[in-house]
Structure formats: structure tokens, C-alpha cells
């Protein structure tokens, strides 16, 4: 990790001792951005976006449901990516990053299911149906729980990282299944809110509110993942000299 070669200088950040302070510096910026974007998103979502023609005010659940669902998938991909990098290159910080993302991903998957349920009840007349979209999102939630349980069950951190990485990588196939489920199967769930090929069917202000909230959730996820990875680094590197110095300075 200490090469003088400038081409590999970015690799310095793969070392816990250099990543820990960097994460600490970045974290408040992401937290601040999350707060600002949330204020803007809530303002547009509640005071600018109009009432929906068919769903009345009930549609406003979209401003948390879609961002939570997107983030549950984005975080899973990020988790699998860092776990895979850790598996391939044996970089400890990447594996720790994967572990730091998992609880937040699980939380967003749960929020996606919960807000979806609260939306389904008034609009479809049911809290839950076993259709493709809902079931594949539930599987995503279980994949997160499986990752967390597996890592918690294995004492040796290196073996826990490797086992978690294999599970995370295998589970990636579920993400496109969730995304395309509304196209592939007949489902009660409505189609994609935003499509790459068609212009959005919703009012522009609704779209903006949703995008701002999605960005806010994204910044929040980065902020908490950085805070958690710092805790994981402290825990795992507790016997290192630099941790001693960092703790004394804090």
C-alpha cells in the first residue's frame, strides 16, 4: 500500500489508516446535502406538486416509496460491487464498505415494503399480494438479512468477508428481476415510474419532487455508510498504532 508509484497512489485509500480520516471529512458534507435535498424535496412534494387526478393526495407516498425502493436496489449493487472488489483484490476497506452498506440497504428494502403496503391498502384494497414485484423486493430484503446473518455468524473477519461476498454476488441476479418484474409478469403493481424510452407520464413537478427525494436518500445512504464504515474500521483495526493515535486525538 505504500508504493511511491504515482499511478497507484489512489490505492492508498484502500488502506484503513488513510480511508478512516477521509471518510470522516466527507461524511458531514453528504449529511448536509441530504438535509438540504430533503427540505427541497418535501417542499415540492407537499406544496408544489398538484393533487393526482386518480389517487388524490394518497399518491404523495410516491415521494418516499420510489426513492426507498431505488435505494434498496442501488445499495445492493454497491454492496455486491465492493464485496466483489474485496474478494478479488483482498482490499480490506472494500469488504468493510460492503458490510457498512448492508444494514442501510436492508432498512431501505423494509421501508420500500412498508410504504408500498401503506400505498397498496387504500389503492388496491390490500396490504400485500404475492406478485412478482412485491415478492422479488421481499427476496431482496431477505438477501440483506442473509448477508448480515452470515457475516455475524463467522468469527474470522476475512472468512466472513469472503462468504458474504459470494452471497452478495449471487444475489445480484435478483436486482434486474425486481426492476423488470412489472414488464415480465402480469402484476398489480404499476409500471416503471421513469422509463428510458418514453417521456415521463407524470406532472413535471411530481417528477422533480421524486428525483430530489431520491437524491436526498442517496446522500443519506452515503453519509450513514461512511459513518458506519468508520466504526467498522475502528473495531477491526483496534490494535493498530494509528487507531491509538486517532483515538487519543479524538
Amino acid at each position: 500500500m505504500m508504493e511511491k508509484n504515482s499511478a497507484s497512489s489512489w490505492m492508498r485509500y484502500a488502506s484503513p489508516a488513510t480511508f478512516y480520516p477521509l471518510a470522516g471529512k466527507l461524511q458531514p458534507w453528504f449529511a448536509g446535502l441530504a438535509a438540504l435535498l430533503t427540505i427541497a424535496g418535501l417542499w415540492i412534494g407537499f406544496f408544489v406538486a398538484p393533487t393526482d387526478a386518480t389517487q388524490g393526495e394518497g399518491y404523495r407516498i410516491i415521494f418516499v416509496h420510489v426513492p426507498a425502493s431505488w435505494m434498496s436496489m442501488v445499495i445492493y449493487c454497491a454492496m455486491a460491487f465492493w464485496a466483489g472488489i474485496g474478494l478479488a483484490f483482498n482490499t480490506r476497506v472494500s469488504s468493510m464498505m460492503a458490510s457498512a452498506l448492508a444494514p442501510t440497504g436492508a432498512l431501505f428494502a423494509l421501508l420500500s415494503l412498508l410504504t408500498g403496503s401503506l400505498w397498496g391498502k387504500p389503492m388496491w384494497g390490500t396490504w400485500w399480494v404475492w406478485d412478482a414485484r412485491l415478492t422479488s423486493e421481499l427476496i431482496l430484503f431477505f438477501l440483506y438479512l442473509g448477508f448480515l446473518a452470515l457475516q455475524a455468524a463467522i468469527e474470522d473477519p476475512k472468512r466472513a468477508d469472503r462468504a458474504g461476498a459470494v452471497l452478495a454476488l449471487v444475489g445480484v441476479v435478483n436486482v434486474p428481476i425486481i426492476y423488470f418484474s412489472v414488464k415480465w409478469w402480469n402484476t398489480l403493481h404499476q409500471g416503471a415510474t421513469i422509463s428510458m424510452t418514453k417521456s415521463p407520464s407524470m406532472a413535471v413537478t411530481m417528477l422533480w419532487g421524486m428525483l430530489l427525494m431520491a437524491l436526498a436518500f442517496w446522500m443519506y445512504a452515503i453519509a450513514v455508510a461512511l459513518a458506519r464504515v468508520r466504526n467498522i474500521i475502528l473495531e477491526r483495526e483496534r490494535h493498530a498504532d494509528w487507531v491509538r493515535q486517532a483515538v487519543e486525538a479524538s
Binding site: 407537499f46 406544496f47 408544489v48 398538484p50 393533487t51 388524490g56 393526495e57 394518497g58 404523495r60 407516498i61 415521494f63 418516499v64 416509496h65 426507498a68 444494514p103 442501510t104 432498512l107 423494509l110 421501508l111 412498508l114 410504504t115 401503506l118 400505498w119 391498502k121 387504500p122 443519506y220 450513514v224 459513518a227 458506519r228 468508520r230 466504526n231 475502528l234 473495531e235 483496534r238 487507531v243 491509538r244 483515538v247 487519543e248 479524538s250
Partner: protein, 54 residues
């Protein structure tokens, strides 16, 4: 703006339970997660200080 009064806003056109339940759950989850992380960090720093002094 489509709200005529504060009560109108909180009533959410009859969907108050579902809309506020959704937003409340998200706010609560994020608040609890942030507080837990902060507490975990405090405990870690304390235990590391004890370890180093020992």
C-alpha cells in the same frame, strides 16, 4: 398550493394515515439509524481508550 388550511394539509384528502404513516416511518428509521451509529461510535471510542490505558 392546494391546501386551504392547516387541518386540510394534515388530513391529506382522507389519506392521512397512509401518507403520514409512510413519511413518519422513513423519518423515524433514518433518525434511529443515525442515533444508533453515533452511540456505537461513542462506545467504541470509550472502549478503545480503556484498552489503550490498560
Amino acid at each position: 398550493m392546494q391546501w386551504n388550511s392547516v387541518g386540510d394539509f394534515f388530513a391529506m384528502g382522507g389519506y392521512a394515515f397512509y401518507v403520514w404513516g409512510s413519511f413518519g416511518a422513513c423519518a423515524l428509521a433514518m433518525l434511529v439509524e443515525s442515533l444508533l451509529l453515533r452511540q456505537q461510535r461513542r462506545e467504541l471510542l470509550r472502549s478503545l481508550k480503556d484498552q489503550h490505558e490498560a
